[in-house]
């Protein structure tokens, strides 16, 4: 077990290096929250994916602040650069002529819903939040030691020794995905 040393709770002045870093941290948090909200609430799918990409970018920033630059870079490379782009591409090819959202639907739908729907949803959400919060606060978190200095060298060595099994399993999953894609593409061609 490692003890987490908390910084003294003095707020640094805005126009110092620490102050600017703090503002950037808040910006990344805002990106995560706003991106997530856009992803959930957007009426158009492409906007939702753009929000998702924003959320991922913010998450990369959070990882960077957690002193894991490798995870941050991978978050950008894989989630923003590959996953989000592929989702957008898929949506674009599937429905390029997506119409603008119609405003009438939600207003008519609300009338048909039961009176209880709102309070019920709110109480479930509150319960979920409360239980997660209690879980987070009450659990004795086990802090794993960092692999080396957290640099790419140490991570590379542990990936091929301590966590070699996981690494191989992931490569098997990827190979299966590639072969599956090849089979599907070949079938489409015939």
């Amino acid at each position: 077990m490692q003890t987490i040393i908390c910084q003294p709770a003095t707020t640094p002045a805005l126009f110092t290096a620490e102050g600017v870093v703090g503002v950037i941290f808040l910006v990344t948090i805002a990106m995560v929250v706003i991106g997530g909200l856009i992803a959930v609430h957007a009426q158009r799918l492409v906007r939702a994916v753009a929000g998702l990409a924003l959320c991922f970018t913010g998450l990369a920033g959070v990882y960077y602040f957690l002193l894991s630059p490798i995870v941050a870079m991978m978050q950008l490379l894989i989630y923003v650069g590959a996953v989000s782009v592929l989702i957008v591409l898929g949506i674009m090819l599937a429905s390029p002529e997506e119409a603008a959202p119609v405003d009438e639907k939600p207003t008519t739908d609300i009338k048909h819903r039961s009176v209880l729907a709102g309070p019920l949803a709110a109480s479930i959400a509150g319960l979920l939040f409360a239980s997660l919060a209690i879980l987070g606060l009450k659990t004795q978190w086990q802090v794993f030691p960092r692999e080396g200095e957290g640099d790419i060298h140490a991570v590379g060595i542990t990936l091929l020794t301590t966590h070699g099994m996981v690494f191989e399993l992931i490569s098997i999953v990827l190979v299966m995905a590639i072969i599956g894609a090849l089979v599907l593409a070949q079938r489409g061609r015939n």
Partner: protein, 330 residues
């Protein structure tokens, strides 16, 4: 010094100035270069030899109305040009212009550059979609299939360099090549790397042309087929930002090529290394970009993808294997 806010501010202003100047004057250089190749004179009227032309263009673009056509997705349409600029400028923060001119000597700078390149692709994709125009949509799907495909051989060739230098830090990679052209990764004598590294360089250079959407691989804005591709609906500064983003991507690509293969700020014969050598190298590379654009005709999209999947990827994989073997054997 490292934690001082002035350090960050100084680099911020410096990088923005470098980026702005390059984005403006590369447009001028391109027009002049194109004109020379086509036996014309190019811009001559504004200032001496047309040197103030970028300023006039900038004022014109900024004073024009920002038209948002009917049927476009307003927010994404306005955000996409900004998104095209931001990654290119951000990448300059980790580029070592010389031994002591680098805003942030990051351990994973190579990875960061490729992560930011992925963001730039997102801008083209969103810009093309938000325009609500069929040409723009075709263009952005082309751009994405091309960029995703060419990232594979590019990363394979970068791995060869990373293997030789043993670091993902651009500064370490450049420092590893100091002391004369025979130590540069492209002509590296030790371990017999010169046997394969020139192939790596060639593959990498072809990939950078494709990644920056330049002719002969400018399928995304093939003006004879797609009007102007994803930029069709953009006017005034929206168009201007896309163009600046394109030129900045070229600058970043040239910087990356210089650091990875051409020894960074090192002098070919080991005399007075410094930032000037870096600038000379990147401008020679940028000139080559312009030269290639105006002397080669555009290819077709399927030929482009065939070249990538059937030639570049196998070659780069074999190249990686040979490099690894050379390192292991010697």
């Amino acid at each position: 010094m490292e934690t001082s806010i002035w350090h960050a501010l100084l680099y911020l202003v410096g990088i923005l100035a470098f980026a702005g100047l390059n984005a403006a004057y590369l447009g001028y250089c391109e027009r002049k270069g194109a004109a020379r190749i086509q036996r014309r004179s190019g811009p001559t009227e504004v200032g001496y030899a047309g040197l103030l032309q970028p300023l006039a263009d900038g004022i014109k673009l900024m004073s024009k109305q920002l038209l948002v056509p009917k049927g476009v997705d307003g927010i994404i349409f306005r955000a996409a040009p900004i998104l095209a600029m931001v990654p290119a400028i951000t990448s300059m923060a980790v580029i070592p212009f010389s031994g002591n001119i680098q805003a942030r000597a990051m351990e994973l700078s190579v990875l960061l550059l490729f992560a930011l390149a992925a963001l730039a692709m997102f801008a083209i994709l969103l810009g093309g979609w938000a325009s609500g125009n069929k040409y723009a949509l075709i263009s952005s799907t082309r751009a994405v299939s091309q960029t995703l495909a060419y990232e594979i051989p590019m990363l394979f060739t970068v791995i060869t360099v990373v293997l030789i230098s043993g670091s993902l830090n651009l500064q370490d990679i450049a420092l590893d090549q100091q002391g004369g052209f025979w130590r540069w990764n492209i002509f590296r004598i030790e371990n017999g790397h010169f046997l394969t590294m020139w192939i790596s360089f060639l593959i990498f250079f072809i990939c950078t042309i494709a990644e920056t959407n330049r002719a002969p691989f400018d399928m995304a804005e093939a003006e004879s087929e797609l009007v102007a591709g994803f930029m069709t609906e953009y006017g005034s500064m929206g168009f201007g930002l896309f163009m600046m983003g394109e030129y900045l991507n070229i600058v970043v690509a040239a910087c990356l090529t210089t650091v990875l293969f051409l020894g960074g700020w090192d002098c070919p014969l080991g005399l007075i290394p410094g930032v000037w050598w870096f600038l000379i190298k990147i401008y020679i590379l940028i000139f080559t970009f312009i030269w290639i654009r105006w002397t080669f005709p555009r290819t077709q999209i399927y030929k482009l993808l065939n070249l990538n999947w059937k030639i570049l990827i196998p070659f780069s994989m074999v190249n990686l294997l040979i490099t690894a073997v050379l390192i292991k054997v010697f």
